[in-house]
Assembly symmetry: C2
């Protein structure tokens, strides 16, 4: 029924073309908005600073009054008052006058510059100014940092500490951000048991629901843990239907022991329109990956082997989570290394060889393959630092060849 394998590139394109239901946006508290994605342009509703602000401790003056002042011939001004920080100045500076002012306080009416306290000497009601200032000196004019009406941050911006700081500066206590895609995570397989339960003979503990749950967190999604689904055709179908209702994306991993080998893709295909997108990708590991689209929601049926499931999530499902969450594709981190031994590929399939990195005697980075077969399900997962990708038309990568390692 689903024999035709897509190449990885075809599978990626098919996923990129999926007509997904768009998620909305929501208003959240600014303190809860860290690492969220801005859903609209933010324009400033105020000038920043909102007033002409002194950038030093000193005296607000008319700059013209200080012209010619130097160490030998100071200018003498009359002190007319004090400007407190955080309130409107109660004084006005007229010709020949100076008002005491601190950093951050509003420059009073009449003054157009501030003389630094180091360049003055106070005696009673009189101020000696030993250095001239030009108009605007030591004053940050209203609106110089941000102008009223200015677009400060744009749609799609990921809110880190600095962006949150900018939004706070605008006086915003809430912000409109893109909704976070909910991603349901299910495991299948008659031998699979939820961690924390007792392990019956012949069974093993589930890994994939846990790794995929965390992988969803790591790419900015909101994982919904469903866990191990009973090994039963009817109950599998019910679980998938419920997951599709509760989430925007559904991830399953593993096969189904009851019924035919392709029960999982067949079930995925029959849940709604348009149904199956593809089943089977010419990659190693990860070949039995199936993707379906049901009412605008994507369903990924990933392989059961933990490393394969995580790899196929990253290659195919993660871009969907990014897209739904309004995030640009994050750059993958890579490193150049020399192969520690010959790496073999699977003929005609894009091969991903899990590798562990070490330093050679000559201080080069060396990538040694980590067994990915069934003989190292957990150790592979824990020990690999990344993977080397071998193209479909290449049979192997020789020992000591330079390769690019994509880091986990």
């Amino acid at each position: 029924m689903f024999r035709k394998l897509l190449t990885l590139d075809e599978a990626r394109e098919a996923v990129a073309r999926l007509k997904l239901a768009r998620l909305g946006s929501e208003q959240v508290l600014l303190l809860k908005a860290h690492n969220r994605v801005l859903a609209e342009n933010v324009t400033s509703k105020l000038d920043i600073p909102p007033f002409n602000r002194s950038t030093v401790d000193g005296y607000a003056v008319k700059a013209g009054d200080t012209f010619g002042a130097d160490e030998k011939e100071p200018v003498r001004l009359r002190l007319c008052g004090i400007v407190n920080i955080g309130e409107l100045p109660k004084v006005t500076v007229t010709a020949g006058e100076a008002a005491e002012i601190v950093t951050g306080a509003p420059v009073p009416e009449g003054a157009d510059a501030v003389v630094m306290v180091e360049d003055t000497e106070k005696s009673g009601e009189e101020l000696c100014v030993f250095s001239a200032v030009t108009s605007g000196e030591n004053v940050m004019k209203k609106g110089t940092d941000i102008k009223l009406g200015e677009t400060v941050l744009k749609t799609g911006r990921i809110l880190g500490s600095r962006e949150i700081g900018v939004l706070a500066a605008l006086g915003l206590a809430t912000v409109n951000v893109c909704a976070v895609p909910r991603v349901a995570v299910l495991s299948t397989g008659g031998e699979v048991t939820e961690p924390g339960r007792s392990l019956a003979p012949g069974k093993i503990f589930d890994i994939n629901a846990y790794t995929l749950y965390c992988a969803v967190l790591e790419c900015g999604g909101n994982p919904v843990y469903v866990g191990v689904v009973p090994d039963d055709k009817v109950k599998l179908r019910e679980s998938l239907e419920r997951a599709l209702e509760a989430a925007d994306v559904v991830l399953t991993s593993g096969g189904v022991s009851v019924g035919p080998k392709d029960l999982m893709p067949m079930t995925a295909a029959s849940l709604g329109e348009p149904g199956l997108v593809f089943s089977g990708v010419a990659v190693k590991p990860g070949k039995p990956t199936t993707v379906a689209l049901v009412g605008g929601k994507a369903l990924f049926a990933l392989p059961g082997h933990p490393t394969s499931a995580l790899l196929m999530f990253q290659l195919l499902a993660r871009p969907v989570v990014w897209r739904l969450s309004g995030r640009p594709a994050a750059k993958v981190e890579t490193i150049q290394a020399l192969t520690g031994m010959r790496l073999f590929s699977a003929k005609g399939r894009r091969t991903f060889v899990m590798v562990k990195l070490r330093k050679s005697d000559k201080n080069k980075v060396v990538a040694d393959p980590v067994e990915t077969g069934a003989s190292g399900a957990i150790t592979t997962l824990a020990r690999a630092d990344g993977y080397v990708e071998i193209p479909e038309n290449q049979q192997f990568v020789d020992k000591n060849e330079e390769v690019e390692v994509t880091l986990f």
Copy 2:
């Protein structure tokens, strides 16, 4: 009182030597343990796999029975039953017999290898085997992946998706992780108003409590938002005392308008033993940074300028949060760039010049300085991509010199 400035290196060493109260550990659900730090070594309470497991679909046999089998002279075996996945085999394989088995099922008693289904042909109760297998072939022996009693993950390991997967494989539903340090964040200053409130004349909105709150999240701490503290000596003291009770680390930023200039360090010094560690660091920006230790808890009084506050947090406070949370210091990301213009330093002070990166015509990365003065409090914060560090004994970095930019 606190006139002696420490060099940045001295300040860093003083912070590294702080005798901080150690935080404990806590048992959390495995699904809530993502990005937490393991508080103890984890040893496996089971063999993985817990039984000899078939790695292929096929037939469990005695390897010796297949010796000599090839396409022309197949070996004929008698089918003795089926092994289902997820349960103990109900059959035993004796000489001349084969039992049907699927990937992941336990290899039955008597069998020591599995012949792949592709190498066989079934007719009635008889199985033709066209290819010999050796003992152990296509079988993953009990405990090959992880042995009972083996230490699988060690104290201090940060739990990413793969580590969480390993813990799930061991059957753990909870895990013992290091407590997350609580970091209280306060802003001071008579001109500072909380975002969301109306802005009175002469006031500006708070930025630092928000940026520092997020910066704490970004380094794995648990921020406690206190917000803007009233500009009053007594209330400041009360707020700091409460913050020291509620949190493991306290961050303030900005000065205090009432009272003397050094009220903040004086107050910090008087809150408890041993008190003030240092006040004033020979850096630009960030000079007025004060650090105190009160009953094993660290208090950082950071400068008021948003860029300075964030920079000094990263240089001095972040290592403390890392240390308390059991995390190793994270590597900072750097990039090589050419300066777009001459960068000036402050004589005798370690200078950090905020820079914005761009590509030159020749496709080189160029670092242009972003004004950090009071004239760009918010724009600097939003626009800088990182900073260039200029040593104390260097007056400037010339235009077109190669520099290392530390990225935010």
